[in-house]
Every structure is written in C-alpha cells, then in structure tokens.
Symmetry: C2
Subunit: 407 residues, 2 copies
Amino acid sequence: MALVVQKYGGTSVADIERIQAVAKRISRSIIEGHRLVVVVSAMSGETDRLLALGRSVSEVPSAQMMDILVSTGEQVSSALLALALQDRGHAVLSLCGWQIPITTDAMHGKARIEDIDVTRLEGFLESYQAVVVAGFQGISSEGRITTMGRGGSDTTAVALAAALSADECQIYTDVDGVYTTDPRVVDNARRLDSITFEEMLEMSSLGSKVLQIRSVEFAGKYHVPLRVLSSFTEGVGTLIRLDKEDDMEQPEVSGIAFNCDEAKLTVRGVPDVPGAAYQILGPIGEASIEVDMIVQNIGAENNTTDFTFTVHRRDFDQALKILLKISEQLGGLEVIGDANIGKVSLVGVAMRSHAGIASRMFKVFADENINILMISTSEIKVSVVVEQKYIELAVRALHTAFQLEKP
Amino acid sequence: MALVVQKYGGTSVADIERIQAVAKRISRSIIEGHRLVVVVSAMSGETDRLLALGRSVSEVPSAQMMDILVSTGEQVSSALLALALQDRGHAVLSLCGWQIPITTDAMHGKARIEDIDVTRLEGFLESYQAVVVAGFQGISSEGRITTMGRGGSDTTAVALAAALSADECQIYTDVDGVYTTDPRVVDNARRLDSITFEEMLEMSSLGSKVLQIRSVEFAGKYHVPLRVLSSFTEGVGTLIRLDKEDDMEQPEVSGIAFNCDEAKLTVRGVPDVPGAAYQILGPIGEASIEVDMIVQNIGAENNTTDFTFTVHRRDFDQALKILLKISEQLGGLEVIGDANIGKVSLVGVAMRSHAGIASRMFKVFADENINILMISTSEIKVSVVVEQKYIELAVRALHTAFQLEKP
C-alpha cells in the first residue's frame, strides 16, 4: 500500500466519458490498496472559455478577479470526478485549494506556492479512499483565491506529493511518456523508461512540453519521484528519476529537444569592456522579456565583440526596439534581428563523462550541409541554432546518428 | 449616503450585455454616494447546466459534491460583475460565501444560515466602493461549501443586510414590483408602492413568486426594509414595509394570490376523537410532504368528520398512497383525491379591522356561478379552492369587485 498523488490534465477530463474513464482508473488504484490524492485540471477548453468571458466584460481585467473566475474550472472538474467516484461506491472528498489550504503569494494569475498545511488532508486520508483536489489554485495570505498560471495543476500535484511525502507523483496526460524526441517528427522516436530530473528540465524547457518546468524543478528539489503516464492507454510511462545512477551506464544522449518559437538578436561591435553585457541585457530584463541563449564572441577589430541572444518570438519586436535604442546610446552600433530560426539540443547527463558529443553533433550538421548560426553548451546539453527550415532534417539526422531508436 | 445591499437575480446577469447594464446601475448608486454590497445569482441557465453535468456522472449525486459544483455559478457571475465594475473605474472586491464567512448548517443543497461575521466585510466597505458577493452559498462548520437551495441569493442579500444593519435591501428581478395580482391574468393589475411583510408572506407563499419566502421571513424578523425592483426598467418598485402603519388607512385588500399547483385529499368519516388529525397528518409529515391548507368539518353522522388538506401536486400520488394505507388501519374509510383544483386568496392586513371581506368574496363566486370546494381563513387572508378551470375567471372577478386597479 502506497500513498500516491495522481494528476489528470484537461484532456483527461475533457468530457463525461473521459471523467468516467479516469474514475475507473482511480478505482482500480484504490482497489489495489493505494491511498490516493487526485489533482485535476479544468475540463479542456473551460479555462479559455472563462478567460474569454472575463475579457468580454473588461478590457483590462484584473488578475485578482480573473483568478476567482478561472479557478471555478478546476472546482467543477474536481466535483465531477468525485461524483463519478462516489457513483462507483468509493468514499471520496473534493477540496478546493483554499480548503487544504495551499497558501501562495499574492501574484494573481501566476502565484507561487508558499506553504501547504497537510494536517487536515492527512486526517481525511484516514477516512476517505481518495481526496480529489482542484489543481492550479490556492489562497493568498490575504484570503483571496489565487491561480498558478497554465500548468499549475502539475505544480499542485508535485507540491502535495512533497508535503505528504508521497511514494510517487503520477502525471497523467495525453502522451504515454517522455520520448527521445517528438514522434511526429521522428517515426522511430522511443519512449524512455526513465530520465533524470536534470535531463527532464532540459527536455521540457527546450520544447518537449510534457510537464510544466516549474513542477519538475519542484519535484527535483523535494525528491518526489515523478512519473508521466497516459490517461488513455495502459503502460508504465516514464519515471523521472531521483537517484543519480552511475552515469557510465547511461546512454550518451537521452533525447533531442527542439523548438521554433524563438528569435535571435545580435548587437555588433559592442565595446569589449566590463558592463557591456549588462548595458544590453539590463533593459531587456526590465521589460520582462525572458532571454534564453546568450552568446558572446571575441570580436576581431578594435576590442569590440558581437553579442547575440535569443528571446521568445512574441517578444522579438519589442526586444528589437529596445536594442535599437541602446545601440544609439552606445554610439550607433549595428543591430541584427532574425525571427526565422530554430533550436536543436542534444540532452544527456552522460555527456559529462563522454567527450566528443558536440563534435559528433557538428559533423552531422556538416554532413547534411546545415549552417550553424549559434552554439551554446551546458554540462548536459549542446544547443545549436539553425535556420528554421532545417530543424526537422536536423532532428532526424541526429536521432539516427546517435542511434536513439535503440534502448 | 446610505449602506445598501442590492441583489441581482439570474435573469439580470444572464449575459454580458445584462451584466454591463447591472454594472451601469450599480455605478450610478456608487456615484450617488452609497456604499454597496451586491449579491448576485448565477447567470440564468447556469445552475441547471451544472446540475445536469453532475447528474450525468452520478445517478444519485451526493448533495455535498453538488454544492461544490453548483456554487461555481455564483462565483463566476460575481467575478464577471466585479470585472465590469472595475472596467468602469470603481474599486471593488468580489467574495465567495466562505470568504465572508457566511456560516450555514451542513444541510447541503438546502443549507440555512447560522451566522454571518461581517467584521471583515465592514473593513472592506471602508476601502472599496462596492463588494460583490456570490449569493446562495456559505460554508459549514466542517469547512465544506454549502448552498441554500433555489432562491438562496435573496436570503443571502437579506441576511447580509440584517448583519450589516443596512439601510435598505433591494432585490432586483425581472418584474418591477409586487402587483395586486398577476398582470398576465388581469390586464389592469396595479403595482403596489408598498406592502407589509405579513401581506408579502401570504402573497409569495400563495403563488406570486417574486421573492423567496424564507428571505421575506428573514427580513421581517430582522427588520430589514426590503424593496423589489426591476433590473431592466427604471422605477421605485415595491417597498416591503417594516413599520405597522395605521391599518385603517390601508385598503381592505392589497392583492390576490392564486396558484394551480396543488392537489386536495379528503378522508371521509374520520372518528371525531382526539388524535384523529395526527393519525392522518403524522405519516404525511414523516414522508416530508408539505401540507398547505387543512380543513376539518363537523361531520353529520356517527360522530365522524371529513378531513381535507392540500399538498403540492407533485406529492399527490405519494400522499394518496399513504392515505389509503391509513384509512385501512382506521377501518376502511373513504379517501377522495382531486388534482384538478386551484386556489385563490385575498390578502390584506386591513382585513383584521374590516368585517365582511369573506362574505363579499363569496358573493363574487356566487355571481360567477363558481362552486367553492374549500375555504380557509387567517387574520389577513381568505383562501378558496375551486376547480382549476375557474381560477382565472375568479381572479379577474375579484380584482374588479374589490377595485384593486384603483390606488
């Protein structure tokens, strides 16, 4: 008998039939003897419907009011799932975030969990077979309903698992695990039985959107074993491992992440003096634009350097405007922008101990005649920016070259 | 500057346009200098939608889960109205029942308010121009969300007005006040400028469904001046009076209530001995069937009597079955049932001091050749049961005879 936290996303509870299917799955876990805390998202489409309702009455809706509105989505799905479980004869309870309570900061719409008091919840787990919790929401110290932003139900599940010292946190979604890369691009992409937290962080932040990145960080920090499974098919999914097994046993590369939603910006001829990077990136950060890759090369002439970074494509225009203003202040430097790029990354903890991954990667690009625009590396990944049109070709070539289809 | 509680029903917030119209009306009250607590129902149709959702996952849905589900209706409308008010530049707050808190008993689906702690609310009224409250809901002492059943938003508004010692509680609905009778039946039915609490209780319980009866009782008990107004048209509505003005000044009859949703049941030849009424009505009450009129005549033969009462028509079959069983135990008495009836009542506090109202009423029935099946009187009303087909004729004839079209 284990204490398991299960989380079901919006597509898993999209309609009555799927809620019944989820109830059946939970019922099986109960009958197997597990104690369960089940976190649910809103039925898919419901959050968007509520957001649209709010925007239709107010042009600049306050985040505080939107939280009251949007949090009803999870309240409805948690009550429906609890009803379906009661209908199967189980003793269950349904709770909103404030009832546990899950205390968050007051950043409405993107609140962060500050504290979870599980005293009452542990009591309920003595008398109920399962407790269904509305995900994505909490209560601020001022007593207001807060939401954690998109994907916050994953965070709720992981945080509850951590607070309860649960044996496992299972994230049920519409994919049956984490793959070596996107199966829509590479036919023989392979489901990984397990992956380390660090790899998962790189994989999800780089575009394999299986889990919300914050929930993975959280799980890693609090040593919560995390498993990604499909709520539609049977299977063991992918375990996101706690323990650092011997890296030598690991494959050199675990997976290939990629995305096409970034844009790159370059300032040429930046004076190669202390403070230059800050002068450029300071105003970008102040505008709340998140920067992903940053590359600075030693410049050739006059002790100047070229400074390049990538941002989300939606922030491209604003970032470009800021850079042009800065370049003017710095004496009219050249600014180059390119929104027509993509990024491919090889990820694997074993890179630490295996030399030559990067050079083998670059050879694949050379063989395919793909020009590399930017390179950035970390201990467990190598990222390369290329023209967007080459992305799928690059991913397929790398998947074959590193034999990722083989276990 | 007054402290006013306003309540808007489901049809008043049925869609975005109506929510904007309500916001405009509230905005005017704010600009006039009033401090406002606004109670809202769910957008019309929403409660039914949520109930249907719940029933679609569970054949016998638990009332506790249904409360979690259904209470989101008011949460959504309160947030939307608050957003619309913010959009008009007002500082407003939106609160659920549990946030105030409105403490109720644990009778899920039909909870009764036990306590309202207005300490926080009074604080909010210092810093906000209006506080929007989700009606119809509260929290039990176990910390569970409760709902008060249909019409509970009226009760919420009145209870808040009482707890806050508000200057007036305004119930906005789709009619512009309380009429002498249903204008759909009598063309020249007249809106009453005011009516006493006692009259209103008789009017609403007898079928003029303007206000939930429990909220009127509540308002009367706690001396909350109550006003019924239309949220669609301008006007002063009808004030439900606190003060007992000189009854002599009052018209003899304030209004005519009627309904066609009752059925009558008679047990003939009941032994005229103590306990007979209890033997008959005890089992009816135990089956949670509510009895409206009760009439017992002195019987002619063998010290027996005829015992007649009315129930809601939906309870007719069950009540008949119970009566047949009782009559068997009492030695095979005759049981007569009639679901094809209607009830007409004259209501007016001035009846106390004006003799002869009943006899004038009966003359109207005689003139129209309508046979009276049952009569029941109280201090401020006379109710008559007739065949259902005569109801509209009776109402029109009485309205004319008592000159209710004249102020």
